[in-house]
Symmetry: C2
Subunit: 343 residues, 2 copies
Amino acid sequence: MSRTAIATKKVTIRDVARLAEVSYGTVSRYLNGNEHVSTDAARRIAKAIEESHYTPNKAARSLAQQRTSTVAFIVQVESIATLLQASTAAAMAEANQTLGDAGYQMVTLIANSEDSTQRIAQLVQSDFADGYLLFSLSEDDSLINIFRTAHRPVVLSEASDRSTAVSYPAVDFANADGQCSITRYLLDQGKIRLAYVCGPGYSPSSSKRLHGFKQAMGAYFDDSHVYYADDWEIASGEMAAVEFQPMLHDLDGIVCANDNIAIGVINQLRRFGYRVPEDIAVTGFDDSPIATMMDPKLTTVRQDSWLHGRVMSQLLLRMLHGEVVDHQTVKLLPTEIVTRQSA
Amino acid sequence: MSRTAIATKKVTIRDVARLAEVSYGTVSRYLNGNEHVSTDAARRIAKAIEESHYTPNKAARSLAQQRTSTVAFIVQVESIATLLQASTAAAMAEANQTLGDAGYQMVTLIANSEDSTQRIAQLVQSDFADGYLLFSLSEDDSLINIFRTAHRPVVLSEASDRSTAVSYPAVDFANADGQCSITRYLLDQGKIRLAYVCGPGYSPSSSKRLHGFKQAMGAYFDDSHVYYADDWEIASGEMAAVEFQPMLHDLDGIVCANDNIAIGVINQLRRFGYRVPEDIAVTGFDDSPIATMMDPKLTTVRQDSWLHGRVMSQLLLRMLHGEVVDHQTVKLLPTEIVTRQSA
DNA sequence: CTGTTAGCGCGTTCAG
DNA sequence: CTGAACGCGCTAACAG
């Protein structure tokens, strides 16, 4: 006559029904918030659930209901370094929060190889999640195509400039605007002899930021003053500064594609004996944590990664609620110049 | 008479069977590597699968088979800042790789609130995954308890010093050893007047590292030379240095619980006019990316987070393969002193 | 308002 | 070696 039955085996909806002395159809209705359940039955069911420690089985439910109450956050990384970026983690955390508040469980998948892409494709095709956030920092298209057959909403983290066959709504930062603004900030100070360090070719943001720089420079733009880096790392910034060495003495500033690169540039500039910002001003992009850890602190373009994750989730939620959203939709998030010491 | 049927609706195992002209039981056997399928049937089935773009449905399969071929990587964070740590991301990436190679899809869940813990508990109780990696940097027990009823293997990222009711195999770093070694490194240089900045109380690593310091100091240990920080951040290091100010002039070194704190200490020390390491040596712990970005570069204790993720996964895989592992098992990963400039 | 029943897609006997 | 039938746990449509 033990009061609290020890959960020896899986307790199913049928056990609850038996305990509450109703049919299990009724229990199902109760569980799904159906109106047609007498308050009396409801009370007994609630009690039975409590006593039996019942938890509905996800797999069975999603099989019958064709929805899973989870959304997948798929991060596609060119190199694992991307995964380590604070911006990725921030967007991930905020998306998790936003979706969680709406009753969805977020699961994160990492696509960093042919194999993992394959596995993920399989999951997607069996409707593993109700919706997808594709957080990608690469131009690789292989992942985006796996959603064609799954008729589930998808939101991208980046506006692709190329017109691919398939496309989904996207939330991105105003990369070009940001780089354009900070360049103008330099120009307005009379620093007009500028060089640019561009990010890796595989990244759309790279070209957008370069575009912003070009726009601000107008006719003064000179491609020989652009260094094209292979990645987003500090070492690339150092290499850029080395490359620029011959022309350094008549340069007012160097605009960089991101903070890491800017740090590398500054490090190398100092080794060459230049002072920052007195001799040469340097700007970054991202406002990553290290921007304030450096000396001088970085003047940079701030983008709110938390906001990125939140807006992507909100858009996806609206789509999950049935709202139809044009696949060409692109939401551009504002950027902001943060003036510190390096420029 | 179209060759390649357009995947209009969900294609099930039945469709494949029809195409291959066998019963769907046979297809199921083929799919699960059962011997008893004639090579002729196998060939026809393979062809049918190819043509129909068939993908087995995860939910249905896991419902019938009671396994999901996925493992969950649950990261429990006291504050979101933890999630931003490079070490977490590294372990995550490597676990994803290791599990992926073994045919398991890793999904990451973030537990950062009462709600999210609740949702995750529900998933776990419906056998959402075949196994669990609990990556936790907090002492909160609420999560660890949700695995009691789920009879699935679990591996922890940290050895708890407290003897809780439930426990699982764990993989952790030799925190005490590491801190002990680097302290001895200072002592051996004749720097014997040392202070210590301890990490936050909620973290087990905190106390273990402090323990290592105590061990190295032996009788010379003096609790008044210990500052107890509230978190792992730079600001805490700065506060510690302020706290230590009165005794700074007769201190040879400050051993810190992690790199961030060490950086804060160094920053503040400089403001006070002390040179590092000439006047006071400072050591960190983690060998995080910023350790080499600072000037002076940090002398610190290196721990291989990739290895952490890999070993945790390997242990879990063995358990998934049926090997029984004592719940008290603790695998300690080696740490290593990295000598740079700050000490 | 409630019990009954037919699937959801697939694994697994169990005969044949 | 293969086909048929049942069950996994739950939802939803349909009678009552």
